[in-house]
């Protein structure tokens, strides 16, 4: 709690989180404007507008968590503050857990910003509540997954630059399937890839709930990957905390 509290203060009062959420809100404004315009021209259904905005919010909100997570350990290492933390009686696992919790506040902030946009785009068709709930569940799972991934990379990176580069590279690899042409997204292999990748599976689930108006229990298989990703990488990030060293790389 102490570590998480201090990290939250550093993140938000230090201005880094405010800057990231400001950029997020600007992006979401542009996306919402475009979506609303398309909706007005009947190119998009109202449900599709909500789904698209929510997917962007989940993807970018989770990205913010990844960006902050990539700085957690390698940042302390680079600033020379890691050793002072490691000589305290607080275990390395609790240190990482506190930092992870603070990083996830960025997703919470992003979700709070998203709420009025979803309400505006989905008002009148009874989709706002379930859209927000689905967005929150999927976004939280994806954010935990990506933040844990960022912390893991940061734990073993010698510098912040390496940590950030590797994290973004992994994120691009995860997003790549969403950019495949429609034809390439069909067939059992493509379907498996969509289901295995926590980001694509989560976004697919949002589409099922918001656009297809499916019930929560109808497509739960699509939630398995984000949930597993969050659990496995969350546990791995905490477990790898034992390997935190002053130089990065393996434990010395």
């Amino acid at each position: 709690m102490v570590v998480a509290g201090q990290e939250l203060r550093d993140l938000w009062l230090g201005g880094r989180a405010l800057l990231l959420t400001l950029a997020f809100s600007l992006l979401l404004s542009v996306v919402s404007y475009l979506v609303a315009t398309n909706q007005a021209l009947n190119y998009l259904e109202q449900r599709e507008s909500v789904s698209l905005t929510l997917k962007v919010a989940v993807a970018v909100g989770a990205l913010l968590s990844l960006l902050a997570a990539a700085d957690t350990i390698s940042g302390e290492r680079e600033r020379g503050t890691l050793e002072s933390l490691l000589v305290t009686p607080v275990s390395r696992q609790r240190l990482v857990a506190g930092k992870l919790a603070a990083v996830l506040s960025l997703w919470i902030g992003a979700f709070a910003i998203t709420t009025p946009y979803v309400w505006y785009l989905g008002r009148g068709i009874g989709v706002v509540g379930e859209s927000l709930a689905a967005g929150f569940v999927v976004g939280t799972l994806v954010a935990v997954f990506l933040a844990s991934l960022g912390v893991l990379v940061s734990t073993f990176s010698g510098s912040n630059r390496i940590s950030l580069s590797v994290s973004l590279l992994l994120l691009l690899a995860l997003f790549a399937p969403t950019q495949f042409p429609t034809g390439a997204q069909q067939g059992w292999a493509a379907n498996l890839l969509l289901r295995v990748n926590p980001i694509t599976a989560g976004e697919h689930y949002i589409g099922k709930i918001v656009v297809d108006d499916h019930s929560w229990s109808h497509d739960t298989w699509w939630l398995v990957s984000p949930a597993l990703g969050a659990a496995v990488f969350g546990v791995a990030a905490i477990a790898a905390a034992r390997s935190i060293s002053l130089r990065g790389g393996s434990t010395s």
């Binding site: 570590v3 230090g14 020379g80 503050t81 002072s84 490691l86 000589v87 305290t88 009686p89």
Partner: protein, 314 residues
């Protein structure tokens, strides 16, 4: 007195490189141990092993009664100022100390009280609410010292606390180090390059060279062992110079007696290498001859000479 730090045969390897080999020593309660050595001698590695940042490849140690198998217990009892420690620029000095006090289990109110008291102790009370970014290097080091004290430690490890400080800053930090032992009764392990300060401050010295203990003892013991003085400068009344020369020439262990140039009554005495207590017989000879001794200074008896002799001037 009992040993607060006991180290037995500690070895630390980084791959094929052995940073510390067979490190064995003990430090009594309330002592200030100066850990000396050239760059790469293994000082920082030794401190990181003892502060549980690194685990030893071999050997064992006990710090403040806690064995190396219980690192959390050790961390509760020690304070550490790491080499080239960094500080969060966006926090104030008070916030920084409050946070670290809370990491040691202080509640919010007591953490604030500890922070306030320590800032006053290190002379930063007036800058308590300034951002660390605005602190000078000397102020940061004093803040680091305060951070090392938030848990009222039994043993304090200071790794190059005066590195990069101007003479005034060095003096301030060293005065604080002295007060740690005198006022708080803490045991201090001080790694530094400032040999003159070590002579003045430390009760004992440990010289490391290439990862091994080259010398361990009091400053005078180490200086004597490593660089046994081979000469002395003596000053007697000018009218007794001839008598003094005769007396010294007959003293055991004295090889040569010369007049010091440009110094009335000054003599330079060179001792034989076999003399393990140089100077004693010379002084006895002068006393027996009832010659007043105005000054007597052994040369080669300083810690710096010992340091250079033991480390090969690396």
């Amino acid at each position: 007195m009992s040993a607060v730090v006991e180290v037995h045969g500690v070895r630390k390897e980084y791959g094929s490189h052995v940073a510390v080999e067979n490190l064995t020593f003990a430090v009594e309660a309330g002592e200030i141990l100066g850990v000396l050595g050239p760059n790469g001698a293994g000082k920082t590695t030794a401190i990181r092993v003892l502060t549980t940042i690194l685990s030893p490849t071999r050997g064992s140690f006990v710090v403040a009664g806690a064995p190396c198998t219980k690192p959390t217990e050790i961390r509760k009892a020690i304070g550490v100022l790491p080499e080239s420690a960094g500080y969060p620029e966006q926090q104030t000095g008070e916030e920084f100390l409050r946070f670290h006090a809370r990491l040691y289990g202080h509640r919010r109110a007591s953490a604030a009280a500890v922070a306030k008291s320590l800032l006053a102790e290190v002379g930063l009370a007036e800058r308590a609410r300034s951002l660390v970014a605005s602190y000078s290097r000397g102020m940061r080091q004093r803040l680091g010292l305060a951070r090392a004290l938030v848990n009222d430690p039994v043993v304090v490890f200071l790794d190059e606390p005066t590195l990069g400080l101007d003479p005034a800053g060095q003096r301030q930090v060293l005065a604080l180090v002295r007060s740690l032992a005198q006022d708080r009764g803490a045991t201090v392990l001080l790694s530094t390059h400032l040999l003159a300060e070590v002579e003045e401050l430390c009760t004992r010295v440990l010289i490391l060279n290439r990862g091994r203990v080259a010398a361990d003892g009091t400053v005078s013991e180490v200086a004597r062992t490593a660089a046994a003085p081979r000469s002395a400068r003596v000053r007697v009344p000018p009218e007794r110079v001839d008598d003094a020369c005769a007396a010294l020439a007959s003293a055991a262990g004295v090889e040569i007696v010369e007049l010091a140039t440009g110094q009335p009554g000054g003599l330079v005495v060179r001792f034989s290498s076999a003399d393990d207590r140089p100077g004693t017989s010379a002084l006895v000879a002068l006393a027996d001859a009832t010659i007043p001794v105005h000054a007597f200074e052994l040369e080669g008896a300083r810690l710096s000479d010992a340091f250079l002799a033991m480390t090969g001037g690396d």
